[in-house]
Amino acid sequence: MWDNRCKIAVSGVGYSKVSRTADRPLAAHALDAVRDAVADSGLRMQDIDGLATYPELPATGHAEVDGISIVSVNCMMAMLKLPALTWHIQVGTTNIGGAVQQATNALLAGVCTYAVVWRAMHNPAGTYQNLPGVYAPGAAQFTGPYGFGGPGQGMAVAYTRWLETNNQSRDKMATLAVTQRKHTQHNPHAYFYGTELTREDYFASRMVAYPFCLFDCDIPVQGAVAIVLTTADRARDLKPKPAYIAGYGQRLHFETAGRIGSLSSYMEGGSSSAKLTWERSGFSPKDVDVAQIYDGFSASVIYGLESYGFCKEGEALDFIQDGRIELDGDLPLNTFGGSLGTGRIHGLWHIIEGALQASGRAGSRQVKDANVSFVGASAPIVTGTTFIFVGDPY
């Protein structure tokens, strides 16, 4: 087990309004989320001395403009002018989960005391994922000419591979979409709060990139979420009940650029990350009370459930049936609605929910007696990170 388990905790969490279009500069969303998280902790902004983010725009073919389509550390610091800042980072080889892990490391090293991590996501006007322009350079020279565009199609090919080699049916995925939308009705911050989804809606929806229909894809939105991390002893003096980080992992499987459709890269990315998380925390999948698994596209949940070890390969769509992932099921899953419910804000919201469930702060969607709370914070393939939060340190 990890010597540093339960030494760092998530304290406050914060949200901006999630909107369909870029009605305000993204910097304003990020600022709202950061202020909300700091206030949730009962801290003053000048107490914050660490900043971390993953300032990426996943929409292809759009410009990254700081404050408009991304919010970098530079942008945040230029707004906040924190008097006590002692540490900051932007991560690149991991998704937002890596920023949370780096903040954890910085707190353990004692180079900051209250770190804020935010994820701000822009929804550009026009088509979200664009194919290359007139020319397809780099890795796209082998994919773009054939109409392969963004990550949706990349994940869709792995999904057909999974479905047909395992003799499975995409119809079973309706359970995930409908159950998560049900969970969404307990999350007033989510884009789809107040909008129900039935199995009939799922089956009637238009196909986007088979096997993905509309409701297999998270809706692009504009918004931001943020968390405050601090040491366990400091967290206990703050307003919210802390959610302790019992262990974390990063994916250790690497692929050469431009390889498309490989199911094994999802599975090996996920299992390598989860293995570290189980070993460090001392827990195993059967100990988990509640799980958040990244669901930017629905099939990501399959790769997560299987590669993290919750079920065997080829069985994930059977595993999620019969009420298992309901709030009172054996493994309540994506209890905040997931990205399919909140809109495309990436994995920091999964981390937030993992922390809230561990600390008993999830309100009407709280899983009863939840303590061991698992998070897979992004698609396991390339930038995957995993976490376990607990409410009771050990």
């Binding site: 890795a139 020279q141 773009g144 196909m207 990139a209 088979y210 390889r259 498309i260 490989s262």
Partner: protein, 142 residues
């Protein structure tokens, strides 16, 4: 069947690592990168052998027959250049001569509903410009 006649495809830009692939394709030959040290065949081309880290790499013709490893049917018309072809099958092919090397392509000369994992396919060539010819795939006879 998908109508490709009105589709304007992005044109591949060869670089120093990939130029032999496109030079061969222009001649109607499918050539993949092979490691002279361990014999591993890989795609897309890479700076080193992904099996033994060897740097002595060459391009050699391979038989253009294999199976559909995975596929997606594209319905989304976000990119108007491809809108006239939807729904169309974008496939990933694993060649008999290059296990583990995955080639993207479209399934041509067949309904998109014919795309299935494991189905046998063979290479064909689609001229794009004077410089660029795309390897593509159709269902294999028999």
């Amino acid at each position: 069947m998908s109508d490709w006649s009105k589709v304007t495809r992005p044109i591949p830009v060869p670089n120093e690592w990939t130029k032999p692939f496109w030079d061969a394709a222009r001649q109607g030959v499918l050539a993949l990168q092979r490691c002279r040290s361990c014999g591993h065949v890989q795609h897309p081309p890479y700076a080193t052998c992904t099996q033994c880290i060897g740097v002595d790499l060459t391009f050699e013709p391979v038989r253009g027959v294999g199976a559909i490893y995975a596929y997606t049917i594209m319905y989304h018309t976000g990119d108007k250049r491809f809108a006239s072809a939807v729904p169309y099958a974008s496939i990933v092919v694993e060649l008999d001569d290059a296990p583990g090397a995955l080639l993207a392509a479209n399934l041509l000369d067949a309904d998109y509903t014919e795309a299935k994992v494991g189905r046998r396919v063979e290479v064909m060539f689609e001229k794009l410009t004077d410089d660029i010819t795309l390897p593509q795939f159709r269902l294999a006879a028999g």
